[in-house]
């Protein structure tokens, strides 16, 4: 398996009235070909800044202060941060594409869906309208939408689920190797969510692209991810294969998240919220940013900011000085029996 995307020590900050907001404070990870990685975090984690930063869609007020984003496909390896405007334009959508939240008016409301497809194709180097039409119809079929109906429709005429599927089709227009999805199932009804999740799974199998999706929804990671990265205060605090994260978490934040999510099947368990408030990214706490809310914190945690270090399973890392104590406290969770 070769590495498709390699992010090294990425840091992004943007300005605000109170001073620079350090949204991403040194993120490094690799994404293999065909792999699906979930970036899980809540408000103040920096996950959205990271996701849009991967294809340099951050607003002007954002600056990348250090790091590299290395993209390696059959066209070669390049640092996305060094790309000039023309290369970046061709990089976006042809090699890496983004699917935004459908609820956030990602479609231009005053043009129909076909015009949107054509505009996007043209903007990224595909000029032949007939070819675009053919491809659009193919993709809409693939996402279980009626091409005739959808291409002629305006965005407001489509339901939330249809819009999300159309957005996915749009992202696949130029055959990218990497798909980045921002909260793909948030604000969708349960049955529609299920549709979108199953669709992504099928598409991945049929077309073989790699996926990075960001979400606050752990269950989405449980459904689709090969590996999970939990983010807190602009850093990755745990990186693990999906089974390891859910059954052998080693960072207190991951543990806290898992304990805070109620379940429908199986035992209810002892649920608890994480005390405290989301971190302030203008002036993050000293040492480990999670320490004010952490039940395992010791004095050292207020001073030292631990890097991601290996823990007790292969391919599993946690940014915590006390991961062994966490391991002892948590043990190994048994998968609850399905109903």
């Amino acid at each position: 398996m070769s590495v498709l995307l390699s992010v090294r020590d990425l840091a992004i900050e943007y300005g605000s009235r109170r001073g620079p907001v350090q949204a991403v404070r040194g993120v490094s990870f690799d994404l293999e070909q065909g792999e699906t990685v979930a970036v899980i975090g809540e408000s103040g984690s920096g996950k959205t800044t990271l996701a849009i930063g991967l294809i340099r869609l951050n607003p002007r007020s954002a600056r990348v202060t250090r790091g590299e984003i290395l993209f390696a496909d059959e066209r070669g390896t390049e640092n996305v941060l060094d790309m000039d405007a023309e290369t970046l334009r061709r990089f976006r959508w042809q090699r890496a594409a983004m699917v935004f939240q459908s609820a956030l008016n990602s479609f231009n409301p005053v043009i129909d869906v076909w015009a949107q497809f054509l505009d996007t194709a043209r903007a990224h180097g595909m000029d032949d309208a007939r070819a675009v039409k053919r491809r659009a119809r193919e993709l809409l079929d693939l996402v279980h939408l009626d091409p005739d109906r959808v291409l002629r429709a305006y965005p407001h005429q489509l339901s939330g689920g249809m819009k999300q599927r159309a957005l996915i089709a749009l992202s696949l227009l130029l055959g990218p190797r990497l798909l980045i999805l921002d909260e793909p199932t948030t604000a969708l009804d349960i049955l529609t969510q299920r549709q979108v999740i199953d669709l992504l799974r099928d598409l991945r199998r049929q077309l073989g692209f790699s996926m990075i999706f960001i979400s606050h929804d752990l269950s989405l990671a449980a459904e689709l991810a090969d590996r999970v990265l939990t983010m807190y205060a602009g850093r990755i605090v745990e990186e693990a294969r999906v089974a390891d994260l859910f059954y052998r978490p080693r960072h207190p934040y991951s543990v806290g998240l898992l304990r805070a999510v109620p379940r429908v099947s199986g035992e209810l368990g002892a649920l608890a919220s994480i005390p405290g408030s989301p971190p302030d990214l203008v002036s993050p706490p000293s040492g480990c940013a999670y320490h004010p809310r952490c039940p395992f914190a010791i004095d050292r945690c207020r001073i030292e900011d631990p890097p991601l270090g290996p823990v007790d399973s292969p391919g599993h890392a946690a940014a915590c000085l006390r991961w062994q104590a966490v391991a002892e406290a948590v043990g190994t969770r048994e998968p609850a029996k399905a109903l």
């Binding site: 809540e42 349960i190 049955l191 449980a222 898992l258 199986g266 209810l268 919220s273 109903l339």
Partner: protein, 342 residues
């Protein structure tokens, strides 16, 4: 907390009696809530769940008296609310409070927390003077877990996090000593990691003050946690299709729509969620309220639908064994038959 028998009248604090609510829209008239009957016992913690367009939010607003029914009656302590006048209506208004979904919109951005919380206290003479109001507010903030309380008084809403704002909204609702709180998606816009505390807070209000709580949500997992010793009502296209004690609903849903929902929910456990049994539905889209299917509105998508029955006759919400009710011809028939050993 024992589940009260829903069919025993006169023991309920608030009740919707065959309530309907229609709206005029550009496309025509829609029935957002269709002959819903829901009775809540005092101190009950109940959840209303459903997807978009099911009418749960409208039902919540009907409970709170913010919308007037176009059919049926809203009863509070046995009396028809909309027959009340003046002072009695005002008393009812205060007795049932709504907590909104959006913590960013539910507090007035130009008023401090002190301003927002003192207004109802002064208006209803529960405190007088600055010192009195401050003391009362401190007590309210402590009850909703905002500590240290004095720090919050001079702050504006934008200086608080989403979770903190929701607590202030709950404190505001509490300031008038309500008997019922309707929480409309009150945790949906709050970070996942703090939802549980807010839900526990609402449950504590029930335990300590005897407040009846109705939580409206689209998230069945949240519903299960919140109403774990109560009931869940599942709504579809304006009707209640199943009403059952929570564990019974979650482990053995009677209505095929409820079963589909439970099977479709992704879970935070890879083994469970990737091997869960799903109920296949024919058709993924919820019909528009402008074109509700005839008979049982779920029939075009239902795997159990029987031609000639389900597409003709609208199923009533009927009791089945286990102090539960379901609006499904097939489910009622099968479960009653099993119970009588046929």
């Amino acid at each position: 907390m024992a589940v009260r028998d829903v069919t025993a009248p006169g023991r309920h604090i608030i009740e919707l009696d065959r309530v309907s609510r229609t709206f005029a829209t550009p496309g025509g008239r829609i029935t957002a809530v269709d002959q819903v009957s829901l009775a809540l016992a005092e101190g009950e913690a109940m959840c209303l769940v459903g997807e978009s367009g099911c009418g749960k939010t409208t039902t919540g607003r009907l409970f709170a008296g913010l919308l007037r029914p176009t059919g049926g009656r809203l009863l509070f302590e046995g009396n028809d609310v909309w027959e009340k006048k003046g002072k009695d209506l005002a008393v009812f208004r205060r007795a049932v409070q709504l907590v909104h979904q959006d913590p960013y919109a539910s507090l007035n951005p130009v008023r401090t927390i002190y301003d927002t919380l003192s207004a109802p206290l002064f208006r209803h003479r529960k405190a007088s003077g600055r010192a009195g109001a401050t003391a009362a507010i401190v007590e309210l903030l402590q009850r909703v877990g905002l500590t240290p309380p004095m720090d919050f008084l001079p702050k504006y809403p934008h200086q608080l996090s989403g979770g903190q704002r929701q607590r202030v909204a709950i404190a505001r609702a509490l300031s008038v000593d309500p008997r019922v709180i309707v929480a409309d998606e009150a945790v949906s816009m709050v970070d996942v990691s703090i939802r549980i505390t807010l839900l526990d807070l609402l449950l504590a209000l029930r335990d300590d003050l005897g407040v009846t709580i109705v939580l409206i949500t689209h998230d069945l997992a949240v519903a299960r946690y919140f109403a774990r010793s109560g009931r869940i009502g599942v709504m579809y296209l304006g009707r209640v299709v199943e009403l059952a004690p929570t564990e019974a609903l979650v482990s053995d849903p009677a209505h095929p729509y409820a079963a589909a929902l439970i099977g479709a929910i992704p879970e935070a456990d890879p083994t469970v969620t990737r091997t869960k049994e799903r109920v296949g539905l024919r058709g993924a889209e919820i019909p528009s309220l402008l074109a509700v299917p005839p008979g049982c509105s779920f029939n075009p998508r239902c795997p159990l639908a029987e031609r000639g029955l389900c597409d003709v006759l609208v199923p009533e919400l009927l009791p089945i064994p286990g102090t539960r009710e379901v609006a499904c011809h097939v489910a009622v028939r099968e479960r009653t038959r099993t119970a009588v050993g046929v």
